[in-house]
Symmetry: C2
Subunit: 210 residues, 2 copies
DNA sequence: ATCATTACATACTAAGCGGTATGAAGAGGC
DNA sequence: GCCTCTTCATACCGCTTAGTATGTAATGAT
């Protein structure tokens, strides 16, 4: 009955962000359309006008929110003119700040949305799996590139398998975030992230050519 | 109508194992009672006779299946008389075999059930969170103990933070399993687990006192 | 053999789910 | 102003969900 001013782009975006937040907390299957609507004050008519299905909404969340977020947190800080190994170590140190900037401090307790989607849905839906796969690949490529640069510059030992190492770094980060989330304690969450960063930094140092 | 011989313990166990398999694949929220019943051929009467609710069933799955499984895969192999660092490295090498022995080869694609429960339910249910927490703590304690032994024996550098390192090892393992699952390819799953094991072995070697 | 108890099977319920059908109000072109 | 398309709001639908109520067959104690 109430008719406010129309702003379809803002409406669509609000639905998308509400869907992201709900799915980040409850997972895809645990999120109901009505929860998303309650969060936005919209109705089903609006949602199904902009998105044909819940699954399509999840795809949009991955494409338009999760992927840019991963890029901003984990790839953008790699664009530096530093020594590649130092750049990676700086990325690890700044990661907590980047995450809280993007997600808000309390959302750290909800873990990595990419990992959440992947863990829940990889065996269940090809569309979600392919999207997660693409994002992870992009992330891995970014780190691989830095390591390859390092090898080219003679900073990193030439026997280092860059792709494999990049995978290991991402796996450790995601694992640490998961274990932090699992405690549901902000302090221990930060402790685990920081600890992981320090261990990885040490490991990266061991890859240095000297 | 069909009445077979009764075996309540076997019935309860069958329901428990079916619940584990369903929840391992679909998650807690994504699992429906009827799917569990279809898998066992039982009916609701049987299930709700043995377990008062779906949540109670999940608790039993964690207590009676997931925890022993984690212990068997990751803690039992640490009981060796070897050099502590060698024991950890051997554990990493044998992990794939232990996992496939416990879960079956194709279930590798479903990832670590502990991590799945934790990732999905940690922010949503205290009972599940506490159980996951206990299992992770037990795992971490086991590795910490080995590292502390190593320090005591003069094999591991005394400046190593055993608890923190144990956390890092577990995080890396869980992360690698997650990334493997995400590919839904057995080959890449094995590749990631193996790669992670090699990197961790190298890192462990860097902790050696010499 | 009897009888209470256990171990189920069957039928049912209220609530919530994703999705659709319909209609009306806002917005832009002429 | 008028007409059309877009953008929603509302009402509804069939289905599934976790859980309950009830009844009955199997089991074990006496």
């Amino acid at each position: 009955m109430k008719r406010r001013k129309r702003d379809p782009k803002a409406t669509k975006r609000a639905l998308l962000e509400a869907a992201f937040e709900e799915m980040h907390k409850h997972g895809f299957q645990g999120t109901s359309i009505s929860q998303i609507l309650a969060r936005t004050g919209m109705t089903k008519g609006a949602l199904f006008h902009h998105y044909p299905s819940k699954l399509a909404l999840a795809y949009a969340v991955l494409d338009e929110i999760v992927e840019p977020m991963i890029v901003d947190i984990w790839l953008v800080p790699l664009d530096s003119r530093d020594d590649p190994l130092v750049a990676l170590q700086a990325m690890l140190r700044s990661s907590v700040k980047r995450m809280t900037d993007q997600l808000g401090r309390n959302a750290l307790l909800l873990g990595c949305p990419l990992n959440h989607f992947a863990e829940e849905m990889s065996p269940l839906d090809e569309g979600i799996r392919n999207r997660c796969n693409r994002i992870f690949s992009r992330w891995q490529s970014g780190i691989t590139g830095v390591l390859v640069d390092g090898i080219g510059q003679g900073v990193v030992r030439s026997d280092v398998d860059a792709e494999n190492t990049a995978m290991f770094i991402i796996a450790s980060i995601e694992g640490a975030i998961s274990m932090g989330k699992q405690t549901q304690s902000l302090a221990r969450c930060l402790e685990m992230l920081q600890g992981c960063g320090e261990h990885l930094s040490l490991y990266l140092e061991s890859l240095r050519k000297n």
